[in-house]
Subunit: 226 residues, 2 copies
């Protein structure tokens, strides 16, 4: 299966470019939105896991490395061709749990509460990487099982941003912001954690429950509110 192009910009990015261009050519003052250095991209993170190279080898075989299937919006991040089966505390399973690459130095499974309830997990809301004391699970791959003693979380909704974006919105790393998703059942997420890094593109990540609660679509108008 061919790797998808990394450089097809999301709809919000194209709209942002067009908006800026049109306002300039018409000699109109730039709207508040068009003044932002970058378009806000909002993506739904469906349930997935991050694995160490050791976990990948145990699940897929000695020397196995993840194969990029689809590049994500954050540079270098991808959904891997490989997936695993997650076995929960009541022996209920989720098949085809996507692995996101590249490998990390810790194992983490990110579920929505709807997934967790279906499996019988009581999981906490955590920032990525903060897995101490969280529930574990069993993963199954074609080469065998891998036991995670901890690491099953619901990810705190968050927004990745470059320092230029942080300066525009007047926020700092780990600040809280609100994000309103407009539409027929508008929702304002009141606790979006800001993550600032030179390598980040402006992108908010919400889970499937959050995305379905607000009915997020590719053309939904979304705004960050300090």
């Amino acid at each position: 299966m061919p790797v998808q192009q990394q450089n097809i910009p999301p709809r919000a990015v194209i709209e942002h470019m067009v908006r800026e261009q049109v306002y300039r050519e018409m000699g109109l003052p730039l709207s508040q939105q068009a003044q932002a250095p970058n378009a806000l991209v909002v993506n739904i993170s469906a349930r997935h896991c991050h694995l160490t190279p050791e976990a990948v080898e145990q699940l897929f075989g000695s020397g196995h490395e993840l194969t990029p299937h689809k590049w994500l919006y954050q540079e270098g991040a991808y959904a891997a061709k490989e997936s695993v089966t997650l076995i929960g505390p009541r022996s209920r399973v989720i098949s085809n749990l996507r692995i996101l690459g590249p490998c990390r130095d810790l194992n983490q499974v990110e579920l929505a509460f709807t997934d967790a309830i279906a499996l019988g997990f009581d999981i906490p809301i955590r920032m990525s990487g903060d897995v101490a004391g969280t529930p574990g699970c069993m993963l199954m791959g074609p080469n065998g099982y891998f036991q995670m003693d901890e690491g099953v979380i619901r990810a705190q909704p968050h927004v990745h941003m470059h320092p230029d974006d942080a300066a525009y919105y007047g926020v700092e790393h780990l600040d809280n912001m609100r994000m309103k998703v407009h539409g027929p059942c508008s929702v304002t997420f009141d606790d979006i954690v800001v993550r600032v890094d030179e390598s980040f593109s402006l992108e908010a990540h919400i889970d499937t429950d959050e995305g379905n609660a607000c009915g997020l679509k590719p053309d939904s108008f979304c705004e960050l509110i300090k």
Copy 2:
């Protein structure tokens, strides 16, 4: 199975009574919340259906009537002992779809978007009863099948209220309100439709996606905002 007591008040109602009592006994001015005529109860409506008496007979047998299993907060409403299997457009099924009683004069299935996506439905957000042009489905019961030509919806989040509540909040039937659910991942639902009736108790209904997005728990502090 015994029918549950109808008159065990929800936690929010007991808290409201205690708060009012304590403020009065301490001679303190009543807080804004305690001044409200009634406590706000917020309940998650898991996927369910409403059926006509004809549909019940076709699914469960001639002359069959629904048996109350658990009384709901709105007077006279109950979750029935009976459930059906829903068969979606891709032959995927949801087993044990709960029926809510008493019977109505139209058939309606209410799903969360997460359910609908899993089944392969593209369903609209509608107020209860407004089912014209919505997708249909097949229901299966112990006595046979019942085909619904339309009626599968995601319910618009809404709040039932008595005219006294409407007067307190300064709203009218079919107005929109916001509702904030506080907690570690607070969410404000910006399009809660108000439904006013003499028979209604103050209760907001959100679906499982919405309830899981905000992490609603029995002790979550919830407020209606005009």
